[in-house]
């Protein structure tokens, strides 16, 4: 159901990356490489779209990160021959929590995601490179991301591909098998896996999301397809409750034309 023509997807996404970078007056893209699948795919696409001289990677480990993440991050960069730098975010993250201690690993995870964003954007300016997003459609839809953290970027090449489709594209692009084979994880704390935290395997979640979002099937039709009602309702709640992450914050309307409401221009205005 979710199979894709990877050659066509690669053609469209590399054209999109090139267009996004060049029309904004840049020549370079920078990718935060986590050691996982999504960033490896985006790295490969950026390299293909812009060439080796115009794609950069930052690997941004925290002291609690799985050592495999760093190893896989380097592996992806070496495989696609993209220059990279490793920047340990532990000193800045730990300095913050020394002042404001917490027991919440979610807060630490979010802080790490936002610290990585801050480093990426600083290096975006240093390298004159636009930040390429690495979010996929599955996580964007259920809100499995940190607002202003890993979701922050200039453009989203794989934001309309479900996670299972990113797997397919990764194999097509030659992402190292070890990276493709490992369980997806945001690596926010030891042993974390996406599927464990979300509570559903991507292969099921993606079909469910596809039926709900792209095909607009109603609950009855989806149940007939084999999904249980509580799961359908739970995923629907995740989509609804994370809508704030997918939209700009609302502006209180006072004037005749209001930003975000009826001041209607594309981001690509005059580009």
């Amino acid at each position: 159901m979710l199979k894709i023509d990877c050659r066509m997807v690669e053609k469209i996404l590399t054209a999109f990356i090139k267009d996004s970078v060049l029309k904004n007056g840049f020549r370079n893209a920078i990718v935060g490489v986590s050691g996982g699948l999504d960033s490896a795919v985006v790295l490969a696409l950026c390299k293909k779209a812009l060439g080796a001289a115009h794609a950069f990677a930052l690997i941004l480990p925290y002291r609690a990160s799985d050592p495999d993440s760093l190893r896989h991050g380097k592996m992806a960069c070496r495989k696609f021959r993209v220059p990279f730098e490793v920047i340990d975010i532990s000193p800045s993250v730990d300095a913050y929590f020394e002042r404001f201690p917490t027991e919440s690993r979610l807060q630490v995870g979010n802080k790490c995601a936002r610290e990585r964003m801050a480093v990426l954007y600083d290096h975006s300016a240093r390298q004159q490179a636009l930040v390429a997003g690495t979010s996929n459609k599955s996580e964007l839809l259920i809100g499995y991301s940190t607002q202003f953290g890993d979701s922050a970027c200039a453009f989203q090449p794989i934001g309309d591909l479900y996670k299972t489709q990113v797997f397919e594209l990764a194999r097509h692009l030659g992402v190292p098998a070890e990276i493709v084979a490992k369980k997806p994880s945001a690596d926010l704390w030891p042993g974390q896996t996406d599927e464990g935290e979300i509570g559903i395997a991507y292969k099921d979640l993606d079909v469910l999301l596809h039926l709900m979002v792209d095909m607009r099937w109603d609950e009855g039709e989806i149940i007939e397809r084999g999904f249980k009602l509580p799961l359908i309702r739970r995923v629907r709640r995740m989509i609804v409750n994370s809508q704030f992450k997918r939209t700009m914050p609302p502006v209180a309307k006072l004037h005749a034309r209001t930003i975000g409401i009826d001041f209607r221009y594309l981001r690509d205005w005059n580009k």
């Binding site: 894709i4 053609k11 267009d19 009826d262 221009y265 690509d268 005059n270």
Partner: protein
């Protein structure tokens, strides 16, 4: 007649830059001895205009209009633009310039207004499908979604056109194992127009991206009675040159007598009955 389709991505709202591009392509086409050059839908402005539409509209007799007329002294031109013929009323139009003058305007009647499309918020629909002359040919223009309503091409078939020109801003969408499903829409209609309306048919689609929406290209030429015979690249900029021949229309009409056997009066009678039932 030697025709050229220019498959490119206009800069959104930058009419000056787009007009410069048109002029450069016209010069190139003249050098290559083409007789008609066709640009995609809204080629002077880009597609998702929203509030930009009124700011960038083409006005008959205005500076850009006069420049296009001037360019058409050397070659016939079809370009797309938001057109403001009456103050404050915009239409999504294709304008045919020839021998130094605008000779024909087609105003899009089928304005998509659903999902990612909001043309109905911007434009007033057109209300006619008039055949016009391009050199020795009788021609008709369809704009994007009009192509997908075969009864609109039928109106040109009834006027015995030899050449249909479809200009489009079709977003690529519907990825699956067999590629992009939206490409098939346009090619299916190309087959229909060529085989059953026995038209030479030039389809000119744009490429490029506007806020993530990518336009798929895949412009093509379908020869009367023979289906698609030439195709431009998907996704990438491209130029497609074709030769339109009246003999192909005649040959197709002899091979399959759809035009001779067509019964428009019967269609009209039945439409009246159905509409007034």
């Amino acid at each position: 007649m030697k025709v050229r389709a220019v498959q490119f991505g206009p800069a959104l709202g930058d009419v000056g830059k787009n007009l410069e591009f048109h002029a450069a392509q016209v010069a190139r086409a003249v050098k290559d001895k083409r007789e008609l050059i066709v640009f995609p839908e809204l080629s002077l402005s880009g597609y998702q205009l929203k509030d930009l539409a009124a700011e960038v509209a083409l006005r008959p007799g205005g500076r850009e209009w006069r420049q296009l007329e001037k360019l058409s002294r050397a070659i016939d031109i079809i370009a797309g633009a938001p057109l403001e013929e009456e103050p404050g009323i915009l239409r999504n139009a294709a304008v045919y310039f020839s021998r130094g003058q605008a000779r024909h305007v087609h105003r899009k009647a089928q304005l998509p207004n659903y999902g990612m499309f909001e043309e109905g918020m911007v434009f007033k629909p057109g209300d006619g499908f008039h055949a016009f002359r391009i050199g020795p040919f009788s021609a008709g223009i369809l704009i994007c979604r009009e192509i997908l309503f075969p009864m609109l091409a039928y109106l040109y078939f009834l006027q015995k056109t030899d050449l249909l020109i479809g200009i489009s801003n079709s977003p690529q969408r519907g990825i699956g194992r067999d590629g992009i499903s939206s490409f098939q829409l346009w090619e299916t209609m190309g087959y229909v127009f060529s085989q059953f309306y026995q038209q030479n048919y030039l389809f000119v689609n744009r490429v490029g991206f506007e806020d993530g929406i990518g336009f798929g290209g895949g412009s093509f030429f379908a020869r009367a009675g023979r289906g698609i015979v030439q195709k431009a690249a998907y996704v990438d900029e491209d130029i497609l040159d074709a030769e339109v021949r009246a003999a192909d229309v005649r040959r197709a009409r002899i091979a399959s007598s759809y035009l001779r056997d067509d019964q428009p009066a019967l269609v009209l009678k039945e439409m009246r009955r159905i509409l007034h039932a």
